[in-house]
Structure formats: C-alpha cells, structure tokens
Assembly symmetry: C2
Homo-oligomer: 428 residues x 2
C-alpha cells in the first residue's frame, strides 16, 4: 500500500470507508484490553513467588552484623541489601540508602524535603518566588505530576536517540538559578526506550548550574531491564562520572525492584554522594525509625547476589520480549509504508514510544478507548499533559497476554490509520 | 528507712557513702543494658514468626475482590486489611487508609503535606509567619522532633491521670489561629501510661479552634496493648465522638502493627473523615502508586480477624507484664519510703513514667549511663528536650530480659537514691 499522503482523494475516501467498517467490527467485540501502564503481567509476577519462601518461620532473621531485622532500627537499610542493590545500581554500598516500596515515593519525598527544608543549607524552595524544572520529553507522567503538584514551572526539553538536548540543558541551568532540577530516565527511557549516550552522560556530570541546589533526578528505573542477552544498551554510571568531573553532589540516583520482583512490594533505593546522604539522613531521622528490613532481607535471601538477579531478569525478558517484538511487527506490517507514524524499537524497558501525525494522538487514543482498548492518555508524556503537537503516544506492551496484545496492537494500528487518513482527507 | 528529707545531715552523709560504695560495685560489673526505647524483646518478636508462613509460594495472593496483591495499584490499601485494621482501631473500614510500615512516617507526612499544600484549601503552613503546636507533657520525643524540625513553636500542656489540661487546650486553640495541632497519645500514653478520661475525649471532640486547619494528631499507638485481661483502660472512640459533636474533620487518628507483629515490618494506618481522606488522597496520588499490599495481605492471613489479633496481644502481655511488675516492685521496694520520686503504674503500653526530685533527672540518667545502663535521655519527654524541672524520666522495661531488667531497674533506683541524697545534702 502506498503512503496516505500520496493517495488521491478517491483512494483515501475508499480506504477510510474500509477502515471504518473494520473499526465497527472491533466495536462489536466488546473488548476490554489495556496497554496504558508499565505493569508486569501475571507470568512475570509468578517468577518471584519464590520470594514468598525466602523467609519462613524457621528462618534466621538476623543480618550478618547481628541486627535483628524484626525489630526497630537501621535507618538507611541493612548492609546486605545495600550490597545487592549497590551491585544492581553499579554503586558503592556506602552510597546507598534503602527505602520502602516505592522509588516514586522517594522522589516525591526528595522534592518535598528540598521544598520544606532546602538542600544542604540552601533556602527551602517553599521560600522562593519561583522554582523551574527541566522535563525531557517525551517523559514519565508521574514525574511531571510531582513537579506540577509543587507548582514548579516545567520546561520541556527535546530528546533524541542520544538523550536530552544538552546544548539547551547546559544553557538553561547555567543561566537561571530558579532551575532546580531535571527529570531523567537515562536507560531504556520511559517512554522512548532510548538510553543516554556516553557524551550526554558526561555532559550531565559536567553541568555548571547557576543554582547550588540544582540536582539531577536520575531515575534509573530500567537499569537491568534488558530485552536481549546479546543486544544491550550500556549507560555510563553517573555518580562516578560526577565525582570524576568534580561535581560529586550533583545527582540523586533512584532505582527499585518494582519491575524485578513485585511492584509495590519491592524495595526502593537512592544512590548519592556522602554530602547529599548526610543532608538526607538529617530529615530521615525525623521521618521514620526505619524501613522494612524484613523485606530487604527477603530480597537478599531470594536473589543471593547480583548474579541471581541478572538470571531472574533473563526470565522476565523471555516473557516480555515476544510482546515487544509482536507489537513492533504489527506496527511495521500495518503502518510501515503509510507514512502515518514512527516508533522506537527499544532494547529494554517497558515502553514503545509512538509518534503519530501532528494533531492525531488524542483522537487515536479516543478511538482505541471507544473500541475497548485503553492506552496511556495522549499528552501524558508531556508536562501538564499537554503535547503541543498532539503526536506522542506511549505503548505499554507487557501486561496483556500475547493473544490480547495482538488484538490491542492491531486495533491501535487500525485507529492510527483511520484517524490519520481522516486527517489527511480533511486537509486535502 | 525514713524519707531522705527527714534525715539528719549525718544520717544522709552515711547513706550517701553507702550508696557510693554500692554504685562502684555496679561500675565494676561492666554492664551494657538498655531501658531507653519502647522496643519489643526477642520473645515478643518470636510470637510473630508465623507471619513468615502466612504467605508462601503456593499461596493465592489475590484479594477477595480479585486484586492481585503482587502488582501495582490500590492506593489506600486492600479491603481486607481495612477491615482488620478497622476492627483494631474501632473505625469503619471506609474511614481507613493503609500506609507503609511506619505510623511515625505517616504523621511526618501529614504535617509535611499541610506545610507544603495546606489542609482542605487552607493556606499551606510554609506560607505562614508562625505555626504553633500543643504538646502535652510528658510526651513522645519523636512527636516533638517532627514539629521542632518544621520550626513550629511548641507549647507544653500539663497532663494528669485524666489526660491534658483541657481548660488550657480549649482556651489556647479557641484564641490563637496560629495553633494548628496537638500531639496526643490517648491510651496507655507514652510515657505516662495513662489513658484519657471520657470527659477529656469529649472535650477534645468539642474543641472550637480558631484555625480551620487545626487538627488533633491522635496517635493511638497502644490501643490494644493491654497488660491485663481483667484490668483495662477504655477509651472513647474519637472519630465517632467528633462526628457526634459536629466536628467530623477535627482529627487524624494513627495506629500501626509495629508493636503487634514486627516493628518496621508491620502496617501503619490512619483513620479520618471522608473530607480529610479526599484531601489526603489528592496528595497520595502524586506520592506513590500504592503501599505494600503483599504485607497487608500477609497480616490479614496471619491474624484471620480481630479475634486472632486480640489473642496474639494476650501473648505479648504475658511476656511483658512480669517486666512491668518487677520494675514497679523494685521501685516500690527501693524508693517507696524515701520521698525521692513518684511513678506511674500503667495497665498497658510500653512505658513507666518516673518523676524524680526537681533538678535530678539528668544526673540520674548520667549515673545510670556511667554504670552501663542506658535510659531515655532526661528531657526527651519535653519539647526541645528541655524539661524545665529536670524531673521526668521514661522507663522502658520491655526490651531487656527479666534478669537484665532486674539489674537495670535496681541500678536505676540506686542512682536515683544517690543523686537525690546528694542533692538534698547539698541543700542542707
């Protein structure tokens, strides 16, 4: 089939009629499918059921250092969890704080702390007239949700296959001391699936922010979430790079086991410099007596060490790789020649990013929804939920079964074709 | 023996000499004992090892409503956990939010939210020139630590065996709209062990605060933590009473299973009005995708229902009751006739509150420490750690073994005698 833009008005009209007929068939199927969130599927969750046996009533719940995990105490996490998560994050265990079950919560908390008490002696952000925040786009809606909630002015920064536009980032942060942070998902990014290039990471580590309390929020949510054994992205470790660049305090790095064991019942962590850590611990001592050490120990006992975790991630990949590949195949087959969209082909993570023709994303998502397939809301990948081109759509292929996914992805391409054809036709 | 104040100078000098000799003996024992924190002992923790078997790899981790506890979602907690904790807190499950592992963290978070975003549309506290807070004394050091950290002016409110001085509370909150809250541990209070009388609770529910965003922080940490089956305090349920009084939104009520199962690995909860809950959930949706549902389900499966929990608490009581009674006996035997201190005899909770002669508490704690017995710091039970009379000491008898506790409590009475005798002698 030829690209829609090269079709005559009659050809396009006939195509639209055919697509509408097909769409009505889907509407008759009363589907109820979901490609909206980056949720593991049942088979992935089943992989971690052994976690439930890692500690039983005969288990010794003592740490190697003699700490009874069942009792109060140990503010920043048990040592063996720091070692495991340190290996996972490629950081020194001493640079790690183990938190509760949600890295999103750690990020919220980190911003809330800066807002109420300031970072390392700087003025609390609540006392400033204006706080601005850099938001590489497309990005993660829940990140933007936090900074929006605190009333920060969010500035979109374009990204390409190498990461954010670093010329723009460097210029903005060096000139404007109201800019206090930037959201980054540096590896297998949400939603594009790209990983930051060596050059981008090195330039991040060498930023010269006008604000002393500017911090990079480095959400390495998909650090070991590869889809392939033989084709993997490699990301320069940011803490080490910042240290090397003489900027040791520039970054807060986040990770969790949410998409390794059970989302919501895993452990989250931050890696950061000793100065930042001392600053954070000052608040933590007021916030809590400690996080869930039993769950920390449970994870350590379940995985043994990083090798166990890597092996475990291979099993995840085996389950979700076919889903990514099937969606990519369907996109290619149904849209490949039509010139109505482009998409990423990630080597890891949880998402495919789709760029429709300008002004089509909302309609595509709406058409999907009316036929029973829920997509992430169009615009969600932009600050304030406003994609100026109304073009980007996040596809989350992991949760549905392969059979459901086939239907959902096919419907998605159908809706994309229909909305695009209608749009082009109207413009003729 | 007669009261120290009735002794002659010679009698007292001889007593001091004898006490010093005895104290030196303790110093020679190289003790390392701890009566400082309200920590369960090993035997208490062992009671909950069955929790580790409540969910194993064969378990169905689905909720009754079909929610897979292993995946993302369910912001305010699974229904069966709300029912269990609702029974524990004497509240409707619909009025309950289940959080993570720490009720202290929920309290911090509640204040942080009011500080950053305000309560129910009122101005965020960070935008106010002054926030004041009522602190019944003696009270819980970690409560005071939070309000101190946010820079609030803390106003001590005296308490007696019925609770805080309600004349003072009523007058202050009705006159001063800078007063935004009050810390309460209404049952088996930390540290006094007293429970608020019916009259006090009713007056709390009928407060007419000048500030619309005044809230009672009702930390019912020891709601079912009785020491006796046949002698128990009864506390009027505050949410129901507030509703009855036409003040439904006046209170945030907190509880947790920290001293029921494992401290740090339990579940915490808040009970509050629908208005307050809607206000809180607005923030929660930004903070997290959800708390640890697997651990919620684990607790539900372990206890079955409230009867299982009550039965479980009896076992705790059987372990710690002898400790309380032994300390009370030692206090009575060694100090009962000397007029150098008074103490509470609680029917539940985790503490005994001791009032030494004015100006003696710090010295007593220091003497204990020098001989190897750690007490809660003198002054800790007061805002800013400053007890104006330097008199109150919190005794935490649960953690040490009975044998250790006997030594520690005896040493404590010895130090109290020595410091008091020296003080009286100097004043002669």
């Amino acid at each position: 089939m030829k690209p829609y833009r090269e079709m005559s008005k009659e050809e396009l009209a006939s195509e639209i009629e055919q697509l509408r007929a097909e769409y009505r068939k889907y509407q008759g199927m009363e589907l109820n499918l979901n490609m909206s969130r980056g949720k593991p599927c049942k088979e992935q969750l089943d992989l971690s059921m052994g976690l439930m046996d890692a500690l039983n009533s005969d288990a010794d719940l003592m740490c190697e250092d003699g700490t009874d995990c069942r009792n109060y105490g140990v503010l920043t996490g048990i040592q063996e969890a720091k070692v495991l998560i340190g290996d996972m994050m490629e950081n020194n265990p001493d640079d790690i704080i183990i938190y509760g079950n949600s890295s999103l919560n750690v990020m919220y908390d980190t911003i809330a702390r800066a807002y109420t008490h300031g970072i390392m002696g700087n003025k609390p952000w609540c006392k400033l007239d204006k706080v601005k925040w850099l938001c590489p786009v497309p990005g993660y809606d829940r990140h933007f949700g936090i900074t929006e909630y605190f009333g920060f002015e969010m500035i979109p920064v374009p990204t390409d296959e190498n990461g954010p536009d670093m010329d723009m980032v460097e210029k903005l942060v060096s000139e404007d001391d109201a800019i206090k942070g930037i959201w980054c998902v540096p590896k297998y990014a949400n939603p594009s699936g790209i990983s930051y290039s060596d050059d981008v990471v090195r330039r991040f580590a060498r930023l010269k922010p006008a604000a002393k309390d500017f911090r990079i929020f480095w959400d390495n949510a998909y650090g070991i979430h590869h889809l392939y054994d033989d084709r993997q992205d490699y990301l320069i470790e940011i803490l080490a790079e910042c240290k090397r660049a003489g900027n040791p305090d520039l970054v807060y790095k986040f990770a969790s086991t949410s998409k390794i064991t059970f989302p919501g019942s895993g452990i989250a962590a931050m890696a950061t410099s000793p100065n930042n850590m001392a600053d954070i611990v000052k608040t933590m001592t007021r916030q809590t007596i400690g996080h869930d050490k039993v769950n920390q120990l449970r994870h350590v006992r379940f995985f043994g060490d990083i090798h166990g975790m890597v092996e475990h991630m291979r099993k995840h990949a085996d389950i979700i790789r076919p889903k990514f590949e099937m969606v990519e195949d369907i996109l290619q087959e149904n849209l490949g020649e039509l010139g109505v969209g482009s998409w990423t082909v990630p080597k890891g993570g949880y998402f495919i990013s789709f760029d429709a023709l300008e002004g089509c994303a909302k309609d595509i998502v709406a058409y999907c929804k009316k036929a029973g397939v829920e997509m992430t809301g169009a615009g969600a990948t932009w600050p304030y939920g406003k994609d100026p081109k109304d073009s980007n759509i996040r596809i989350a292929p992991t949760y549905p079964s392969l059979a459901d996914l086939k239907i959902a992805a096919t419907l998605f391409t159908l809706c994309t074709r229909l909305v695009s054809a209608q749009k082009i036709y109207e413009e003729m």
